[in-house]
Chain length 216, copies 2
DNA sequence: TTTGTAACTAAACACATGGTTAGTTGGCGC
DNA sequence: GCGCCAACTAACCATGTGTTTAGTTACAAA
């Protein structure tokens, strides 16, 4: 794609280029279907450089996943510090996740591929980091329930809805964009942050305690 | 997996076995990463039988997708005929989808893999059939809004939340099940239909018109 | 300017892939 | 019991794969 006229040597830039191209291709075609030749083609480097910098194709994959996970968690952690009323924290959390996916747009696809594959390529540390997201949801729900704003629900089910919708949205976004630019999309193509806002707010409304008719 | 002691000859059973094994493997590994050798291994048949019955690997893939899509749509179409108040139609629709995914358990994985792959293997007709699901959501929302039960929202965003959550739930289910049986799942592992019920109801609550404080 | 080494390439490797082909065989109709 | 053909297999082919290796080159330090 961005094939560079490469005469200069720069380890950091080459490493970065391999990760960028790898992320894009792994997310589009999956781990197995992405060839090192394709990555080399995209970067203008030789495919032997993958082994040179990352040891193997799997090593490159894991490095990309690690980077994506930490980018998402940065956004979420910043968000988690802000104090807000419970029913506003869900939209804020959703927005933080959406921004994280914006910073690591290939992560959701790679995560899903990893889940589907059965044989986890993702490093256990990365998986454990990701699981911290559930703690955020759980804390928000618990706080809201204690305050009487939310009814009592299984926080894990709520978390599945939130993450599931956001991940699915991200994964299918290229498809919608392609359809749209071909003029064949017969419905809306929401902006990621708007969609996150929408789902966060809808969930918050859906969780409202029955006993409080008009809160806020 | 279910390698049969195969001495008898049975066209229908062989065809079926190829589709079953293909569905399982395509959903796990994606189209490109699934080899005909693996499918042959699983069925105890020779890989030439894929060409014999389906013309090619792509032909097998499309046959499986077509079957899955029609199984899901059967459930949804039956459901769509039942008349209910709008806020009950959303949980019912979600349940119908969940039952459809139960009947075609590998479909969500294959769909996601297909979306991710970039080069769509799915037949356009199958994609068009799938799109009918959105019409169901749209009709439910429209009816509800007209009746004043729902507030005005973008039906496509609602649809994305519903489908996204259900699909994500399905494709991560094997992971949860594996964790659970290993005793390493620190949260709930909901039943698919219960989860569908939950999300349908939560969305219906989340869509409730602001002007009607205590409906039902 | 020389030199050491990190950054990089070309080529070869062993192996797996999807598809094809030529041939074999089980079982049903007669 | 026999012949026929659908059902099935083994082997091969051309191509593409991830990794390794042996060698080349840019560049910074001396």
């Amino acid at each position: 794609m961005a094939r560079k006229a490469r005469q200069i040597r720069n380890a950091a830039a080459s490493r970065e280029a391999l990760m960028e191209a790898g992320a894009r291709l792994f997310a589009r075609k999956g781990f197995a279907a992405t060839s090192l030749d394709a990555i080399a083609e995209d970067t203008g480097l030789n495919k032997a450089m993958v082994a040179y910098y990352f040891g193997s194709k799997t090593g490159l994959y894991q490095a990309i996943l690690d980077q994506g996970v930490s980018r998402v968690l940065e956004r979420v952690d910043v968000e988690a510090l802000e104090a807000r009323p419970p029913d506003l924290r869900l939209p804020a959390f959703a927005r933080a996740l959406a921004r994280g996916f914006e910073a690591a747009p290939y992560l959701p696809g790679m995560l899903v591929q990893d889940y589907l594959s059965g044989e986890q390529q993702m490093r256990p540390e990365a998986a454990a980091s990701l699981a911290r997201n559930f703690e955020v949801t759980r804390a928000i729900i618990e706080r809201g329930t204690m305050a009487g704003v939310f009814r009592a629900v299984d926080p894990h089910q709520v978390h599945l809805v939130l993450i599931g919708a956001l991940v699915f949205f991200r994964i299918t976004k290229p498809f919608r964009d392609k359809m749209q630019s071909a003029g064949r999309l017969p419905y809306s193509n929401p902006d990621p942050e708007d969609f996150a806002e929408f789902i966060g707010e809808m969930i918050a409304r859906g969780l409202k305690s029955d006993s409080t008719p008009e809160p806020h």
